[in-house]
Assembly symmetry: C2
Homo-oligomer: 428 residues x 2
């Protein structure tokens, strides 16, 4: 008994059979006595179809609005949001056919208010004074994900994957007990099962760990949805909508670390191939030169990730190595070229064929030796590390892309991630 | 210079090429100095696609909500209205690509308020305080047709063909000078050109005549749109969006009769095959029996059209013959059967193979002899008339369907409709 939010992505509502299957999952939660809000994405392929209509009219359009200056992003949002509008109505009908009172809610009907950034809007306030009482009367709220309304009364969208964030934000606004994200995988794994066949599904994972994993390219949950859930301490359950009842496992609960039950230092190994390494050679040895490089990048809208400064043994000059997203490489090189005089360096080297491999775990906070285990495991396979970056709960290394799978398997094994850990002794 | 509303139906916005072509037509009106609102339908086929999704989920659904008690009509409206939402956004983008400021307006954004009858809503109030100033600033308003919002903040739709009514209602609200309805025919014809090859396009037609023609099955304009235009004396121009510039003729202006310039008694010949004839045999000769029959039909939601009472020569008993829409025949027969004792009649005959053929013209008000010409023309071809009905500007006859084309051609010729009439002497 309580209030829950269920979220279904595009593949979970891909066709009418899948929508009927979703209505069955919702019916089970209603039968269990819950007040339910369901957040839906567009039917799989529908968003792409709509985007391609826009693209065909406006070849220069970029969906983020960054390059086109947002000149058509308002209409893009109005067009593309229609996909979720259709799914929400269809699921409401499917629920009524099962005898369950239900109605669709569009972003402007709730209203779910956003800022003015079309096609990548951020959620502001969510009004619960209409949807809340409707749910309390036993009507399932079927919410069109991904969309909101801005102060000009125009439809805004949250950007690709925004339905996760919609779902969590609505769960927060509704003071829900839990947000269940149904997807095409059955939970969060210790690493990518395509690389490590004995990767293990985690029963629970802490918000902070999930945030690191999501940032590192584990694409199950959108980063912003995890941030939001963490800020409001709202548990998220990730589970599959694909398996039949009985065969369905409970997925992974993303929750406050106090609720994570496993005694384990490292929870998962993540990797990201979308990296490029840039090295500035022979930087002038003046104070503030790293700051100048970072400013040049940030002025160009480029995020600098890992960064390390080295001293050349031969001539005692300094080199600076850092990474950017691979898609930003060209822009970064152009920005550096433009700022070459100001920064002062002899040359630039770059490398696209690099991968960032990371081990993540809140247990690192209180355990030493993780870095040592990691570096030894990689060294044992002959894998060179070019850059190292650490946070409180994460160690990342940059390696040659060729070694990605080898490194991930070695680390998964070195931290015993394929074995089920002993339960942590819970607090009294 | 002035304010105009342009409306484009589904075939006129069937694909991106057609939408680009529409943007060119709009651009020409903007270049002529007009403030322009454009009302668009869904891309051809899109509404059917959306309806079929709903139908597949709910096989008992009838789009009018009459049989299903409107139980899912709210969601039907939310789903189906997305078609116009997409077109309005696409046309706004196409206009911006031509350098013309434009934005889409959805029913709830205007707002265009309707009553609560989902899927066949009637327009109430249209707010012009947002859209009007936007147009006055030179921004083309691209309005999603067919949709509105009811007092519960739910999306409502006006029923099939409702975009015509949207366009006229918006033109009225915006105090537009004219509403141009672009369609796949190039105007209103004296009769169906598929039956009479030398049918002539009318330059002008009076509201009252158009209303009769629209009611009689000439499907170019929705009846309600003509009623509305007549009530507010708003001229409608019907013209094609298909022809290239230069080849396009000015279409037909539907306007107040004072503005119709042609001196002609009959303006057009219309026909409707969607008719069924019912005859009640040997009705009891009590007062009020016709009223009883009409009540039985109206209680069943069936509209009785033509009606005639005859006396049988043999036994002096009365027969009653009337027509209903062909799709209502089964329901009508069932209702009559149920009321047989109460009404009192010996038996029922019916005939589906009947056609109503009508001549329409405001000139009939001041001219006699139209009926005589009509009956003589039909008699000369050996066509029997089973029922006759007249109004101030219309004479309708019911004939055997086999004779439809023959009758239409005979009447078109008898009233000289293929020749261009002399202009009426205009009032001083």
């Amino acid at each position: 008994m309580g209030r829950i939010v269920m979220k279904f992505g595009g593949t979970s509502v891909a066709d009418l059979d899948r929508i009927r299957a979703v209505s069955k999952l919702v019916a089970a939660e209603v039968a269990a006595g819950h007040e339910v809000a369901v957040v839906v994405s567009a039917m799989s392929g529908e968003t792409n179809r709509l985007v391609s209509l826009v693209d065909a009219l406006d070849k220069d359009m970029d969906p983020t609005g960054e390059k086109s200056g947002g000149a058509i992003a308002d209409e893009y949002d109005s067009i593309v949001s229609s996909g979720e509008q259709v799914t929400s109505g269809l699921l409401a009908i499917a629920l009524r056919r099962r005898g369950i009172p239900a109605r669709s809610w569009l972003g402007w009907q709730i209203p779910l208010k956003t800022d003015m950034a079309h096609s990548k809007a951020r959620i502001g306030e969510i009004e619960s004074s209409a949807i809340g009482p409707s749910m309390a009367q036993g009507t399932v709220a079927v919410v069109a994900g991904f969309q909101g309304i801005n102060k000009d009364d125009r439809i805004s969208t949250l950007g690709r994957g925004g339905s996760d964030t919609s779902a969590v934000a609505i769960a927060v606004a509704l003071k829900a007990d839990r947000c269940d994200i149904y997807t095409d995988v059955d939970g969060i794994y210790t690493t990518d099962p395509r690389i490590v066949p004995d990767a293990r599904r985690l029963n629970r994972i802490a918000f902070e760990e999930m945030l690191e994993l999501a940032s590192l390219g584990a694409k199950v949950l959108q980063v912003r949805s995890v941030e939001l859930a963490m800020n409001y301490n709202l548990p998220i359950r990730v589970l599959t909508s694909m398996a039949d009842e009985g065969q369905r496992n409970p997925g992974t609960l993303v929750c406050h670390e106090d609720l994570t039950m496993e005694e384990r230092v490292v929870s998962g190994v993540a990797y990201s191939r979308d990296e490029a390494q840039i090295t500035l050679l022979k930087l002038s040895d003046k104070p503030g030169m790293v700051a100048k490089v970072c400013k040049a990048m940030s002025d160009a809208g480029i995020i600098v990730d890992m960064i390390v400064q080295g001293i050349s043994r031969s001539d005692n000059s300094a080199n600076l190595t850092f990474t950017v997203g691979e898609r930003d490489l060209e822009m970064a090189l152009a920005a550096l070229d433009a700022a070459k005089q100001d920064i002062g360096f002899a040359g630039v080297k770059f490398d696209r064929d690099v991968t960032k491999v990371s081990v993540v775990g809140i247990g690192m906070r209180s355990h030493t030796g993780v870095a040592q285990t990691m570096f030894e495991a990689l060294a044992a396979k002959g894998i060179n590390i070019s850059v190292i970056a650490t946070s409180e709960i994460k160690i990342s290394v940059l390696i040659d892309s060729e070694y990605t799978e080898l490194a991930v398997r070695a680390l998964h094994s070195a931290f015993d991630l394929h074995t089920t850990p002993a339960p942590r002794v819970s607090a009294p």
